[in-house]
Point group: C2
Chain length 496, copies 2
């Protein structure tokens, strides 16, 4: 059975039910699970752990690539499976548990988790749970739609549980490029100089003796839940594309631009969709995730090739993608997130990073994570890897939220994920502010007039003018700087 | 004349007075000047430009490596020579001009300026002014005590003015290692895998036709102005060293540690001095600046070798260093700041970064630049290059300032330079908080109890406990979050 999926015969004996595999876990273990932006996550073990936890709360430290699908994060949070979670999540139930202080969440740059596991700054992985297409004769594990941190988990884990997902076509084999940096002090340059290059192996190497269980599943990834483009995201896309065209016209970039990164979510997805109507051709992506838009651009020829750590698609695009995998095989590479987001490569390639802001302030500081400055939304993800080290850091946001009650442009962000030092370009549906080479006092009028919703502009101008009377490199009326957030909390609107 | 310093005979004709060279400048030009933390700065041209500006205000955009010595920044700011300044400064007069909005200051990561010049995000350099030991027969410019951004300025400049400083011994030749990354998309890995390796040339290459003037000077660098260690900095040093010893004991580092970086300033200098009393041997530095402490550690054998972009010493250490250069020749490398601070190398080598915080908050966000959240002190310098990409980001601060009126540990920093995602360890004279792998709700009690001055602990606990009632990943009482700063502004003390 499964001979084409389990190519090392003695491993067939380790096939067992998810419930049996769940008995390998003990309370307070550190567990690494595959899964990145709802793609390539283990489907059976999370539910088996939920069952297991009903008799004995496990309180695991759960490390993943990024967010999981299948409501796994919510189910595990609700039943005490998980006590500590990193480096990213995007689940409504888990989010509530985090904000209530019932699950501890460590919000990390996505390139850093693997490094912290390697150095011992994080506890060692007791069990790795990896979704796979197949196990090779040498024990090599072929991942499915995401690589994430799976190779790092396997490398350090005492035991490995493989979930063989029969719904993941064997044709996925060969899509992956597994390379991990060597331990220091023997670390050498990562030999990648273009987004499409392959520098590693197509499977995750592991001593087969460490494969403690194989669980068979047959269910697809959860479809992505991004919203379709709308009038506002279309306008944001137009501003971004006009800006990039201007960079080419000014001679600062070639018509092939530089490799693009786009964060998970509806706005970044919509901006990429906008490129389909542009005159750009033969672009490349060096990103952490590919969404529907990337597949459309590959189909349309705007994109020559794409590198990422996961592929997260809507149901129809997912189906068409898997049915036509041969068409994409030479144009997509899936890598460990340590490599897709690596500072060395992000700086070398000169990434154009496109990420979503929850809010930004008149001086260019960006809040990507904390609603109202206190409550976690999803996490910083890879945006910091790209914003600090890339060539261009573009942050996009609709100018208002909650039917106009919240301004995305505020006097001072209530939580900072990206500092003024890192933010190059801000975009809303109203316009684009190019902050490069500008001092804070030059940025403020530009951001207010170009990006803020007109309803809030007068109040922002008023704040800035009164802040100027106090002086400074970054003028503020400190006792009012966070008053907009407080007004929303108390009155349900930021409007004066 | 100067045959051993100007080794290409026809260039001798371009020797002229500083006043004559100053006539090459026109208003609103973009000028790149050598100089990094008071070392290797041009001595004559700044003063000549001050004279020149008396009749015609120049309003230059002035880009340097980092801060200048000789009061040059203050004099140029006061006389209208400079209208726009980047990427760093540390001059009291210029600081006043910046905070008054009279000089525009762009506060940049020190690895980024060269990249932005190369890409055209910053305007091209009209004139580069470079202090040198000698000009070689091929036109190569041998820098003095700093490399900074000089190689990038020369590469892009329309004209180059060389200040030959006769006070800089010829023996400095050979200390430098000039390597700049290639333009994209042909950029290759930077072939450096250990702090002491040499990958470039010992002089800055330039077409001699672009050398428009040579000005002869004979004056030493301004001595560094760091304060000597005191009881509090000694205590900080003890905490840092005990922590590093613990990392070795836990098997997370070898006894040689990882390459050390230490920011400019008294506290970081004192921590390094503390290493002289430690059992560590054969350490390395991969830093942006070497201060007195680095020379003492090289002399004492604690440090095997040191790489940096500049050497800034007190007067007596400076004199002894130059008199005994041969002793250090094989153990010091001076590099462009783009290379000393490069994300690729900082991640590959796994730097331990030690930088000074103005203040930090109970969740681990660090303010390095803005007094009271609004007024610029010096700038972020290279701390962000090291904190984001290195192995360990340690931030140090005395727990209180202004005779106890200001707490360095606050509910919320009023300006964020280093986010909670980047900060690993916080240290004051009272103790050390290791934040790795901790959620914000775990960090707050640790930071308050370990790092805050006892006088402020009760108020911080009270704030945190009331913040918890509001919930969230990062609980805050938003309307009070910046009240400590506001209280200091109005009443002269943060004490309740």
């Amino acid at each position: 059975m499964y001979a084409h999926r389990i190519r090392r015969p003695e491993l067939v004996e380790r096939v067992m039910s998810a419930a049996a595999a769940a008995r390998l876990f003990a309370p307070a273990m550190t567990v690494g699970m595959s899964g990145f932006t709802r793609a390539g996550d283990a489907k059976a073990l999370p539910r088996a752990l939920v069952e297991r936890s009903r008799s004995e709360p496990l309180g695991l430290t759960l490390i993943t690539g990024a967010s999981l699908g299948n409501d796994s994060d919510g189910l595990m949070a609700n039943t005490g499976v998980v006590a500590r979670r990193l480096p990213f999540q995007a689940d409504a139930t888990l989010r509530r548990k985090i904000n209530a202080g019932e699950v501890l969440f460590i919000d990390q740059h996505l390139s850093e988790t693997a490094e912290q596991l390697r150095s011992g700054a994080l506890p060692a992985i007791d069990i790795a749970v990896i979704e796979a297409v197949a196990i090779r004769a040498d024990g090599g594990i072929v991942p499915t739609m995401a690589v994430g941190n799976s190779a790092s988990f396997v490398q350090g884990a005492k035991q490995v549980i493989v979930e063989l997902n029969l719904a993941a076509p064997l044709a996925l084999e060969g899509l992956h490029d597994i390379y991990l940096p060597r331990p220091r002090p023997d670390r050498t340059p990562i030999p990648l100089t273009a987004p499409g290059e392959r520098i590693g192996t197509t499977a995750i190497q592991v001593d087969p003796a460490r494969i403690a269980a194989i669980v068979i599943t047959d269910s697809p990834d959860s479809p992505s839940n991004v919203l379709p483009p709308d009038g506002e995201t279309d306008a944001i896309a137009r501003h971004v594309i006009a800006f990039l065209e201007g960079e080419v016209a000014a001679g600062r970039m070639t018509p092939r631009l530089l490799p693009l990164q786009a964060g998970i979510g509806s706005i970044a997805n919509a901006v990429l969709h906008g490129l389909a109507q542009s005159s750009f051709r033969d672009l490349t992506m060096y990103s952490e995730v590919l969404q529907d838009s990337a597949i459309a651009l590959l189909d349309g020829g705007q994109l020559a090739l794409a590198s990422a750590s996961s592929i997260t698609l809507s149901a129809p695009v997912h189906e068409a993608f898997l049915a036509n995998l041969e068409r994409y095989r030479d144009r997509i590479v899936l890598r460990p997130q340590e490599i897709s987001n690596h500072p060395e490569l992000v700086r070398r390639l000169g990434i154009i990073g496109l990420n979503t802001a929850l809010e930004f302030d008149i001086y260019g500081n960006v809040n990507s994570t904390h609603v109202g400055g206190t409550h976690m939304m999803n996490g910083i993800g890879g945006s910091g890897d790209f914003a600090r080290n890339g060539e261009l850091a573009i942050f996009v946001s609709k100018s208002a939220a909650k039917n106009g009650a919240i301004s995305s442009v505020v006097p001072m962000v209530a939580h900072v994920d990206h500092t003024e030092h890192d933010v190059d370009v801000l975009v809303t549906e109203w316009g684009l502010a190019d902050l490069r080479g500008l001092a804070p006092r030059e940025r403020a009028p530009l951001i207010i007039e170009r990006c803020a919703h007109p309803v809030f502009r007068a109040a922002l101008r008023d704040y800035y003018e009164r802040a100027l009377l106090r002086g400074g490199q970054t003028p503020h009326v400190l006792e009012e700087a966070l008053a907009w957030h407080e007004r929303y909390r108390q009155a349900g609107s930021m409007r004066p």
